[in-house]
Amino acid sequence: MDFPISHAHIHPIYLILVGFVIGVLGGFFGVGGSFIAGPALRLVGLQWNMAVGTDLAHIVGKSVVAARKHRALGNIDFKLGFIMIIGTIAGAETGAQGIEALKRHGDVNQVVSWVSIVVYFSISMFMAWDAWKSLRARDAERKRGAPDTHSDKTSVERVTSRIQKFHLPPMISLPTSGIESISVWAIIAVAFVGGLFSGFLGGGAGYIRMPSMVYLLGIPTHLAIGTDLFEIIISAGYSTASHAVKGNVDILIALVMNTGAAIGAQIGATATQFFRGPGIRLAFVPLPLIGMAIVIYTLVTGQKL
């Protein structure tokens, strides 16, 4: 099929399949999936700028489907999501400015590549360690015949508790997430860091935001996934509009991809019902490693996937 906006010739089944895979991942883990969509679009000859913008548009559509499904399952904390948007947009702008500054002063590709390798690897290893510890603690409790209190506990509860006790007004409660009191600034700071990586490394940065919500703010995993998706609709929507004005979005490609993503997102979101927090976090581990592998490939071969 010919796509007149980007002048690309892509088989629609390919786009639907790519969308489907990203949809499943997005619905299940609450991530945008740009680390797959970007290279997949590049692979069929789309220019890098067009691939980034089109991917963002597709993320919006897929997140709408997954977020609606998560809302039906009671997995979205809207109050938290709206507060996070402020930090995310501010962080994304700062990250984008950082890229511009690096462009002026040094080798932006080298810096961004090495930062992303360290970040992806650290997240993967930390989540593997935490999920393994949480699952072991749960198994030990089961063997003792104790009630299952470790269903969604993490290994860094002390850090989470300290952040929640950090008293810098205004303090709010998040009843949906089961948090009695937390500083708005703590939420904005976590969202800012997610946004910063989104602006700096590209994509929605769900691979940072979702774990940060779980480990730092103490949001239950299922709620972190749903709320992250809700938040992605707004932040990716903002970025889509910005890219579209610059002519970097082929909406026809995004619409075709979104048809596959819509099925995948529903399947992924529904599947979260059958997994507990540590199980989902353990399954999340390979995702940042895939991103890392793509960056290493780009560094070694000099070809942008």
Binding site: P4, I5, P12, I16, A57, H58, V60, G61, K62, S63, V64, V65, R68, K69, A72, G237, T240, A241, S242, A244, V245, K246, G247, V249, I251, L252, A254, L255, V256, N258, T259, G260, A262, I263, Q266, I267, T270, A271, Q273, F274
Partner: protein
């Protein structure tokens, strides 16, 4: 039927149902939209950006509503 089996059956039904909708949607909507959206892209980028957001959001909501409705219908018939 336990929830997991129910879910697997739902997924197996959902995929062909969705595939049918996608084919119909693909031929009907995209072929109609193509010229208009390309013209917008070439003439007014701001309006194009607004149209992009409106289209992708509307499609997301529409697809989700359609599947939910169809799945409810199928589940009702399955008992």
């Amino acid at each position: 039927m336990n929830p997991k089996s129910r879910w697997i059956v739902s997924v197996l039904i959902e995929i062909p149902v969705y595939a049918g909708i996608i084919v119909a949607y693909y031929y009907l909507v995209l072929s109609l939209l193509g010229d208009w959206i390309t013209h917008l892209f070439q003439t007014d980028k701001r309006l194009y950006a607004a149209a992009c957001l409106a289209l992708i959001l509307a499609q997301g909501i529409l697809l989700e509503l359609t599947t939910t409705f169809l799945l409810r219908l199928v589940r009702k018939r399955m008992g």
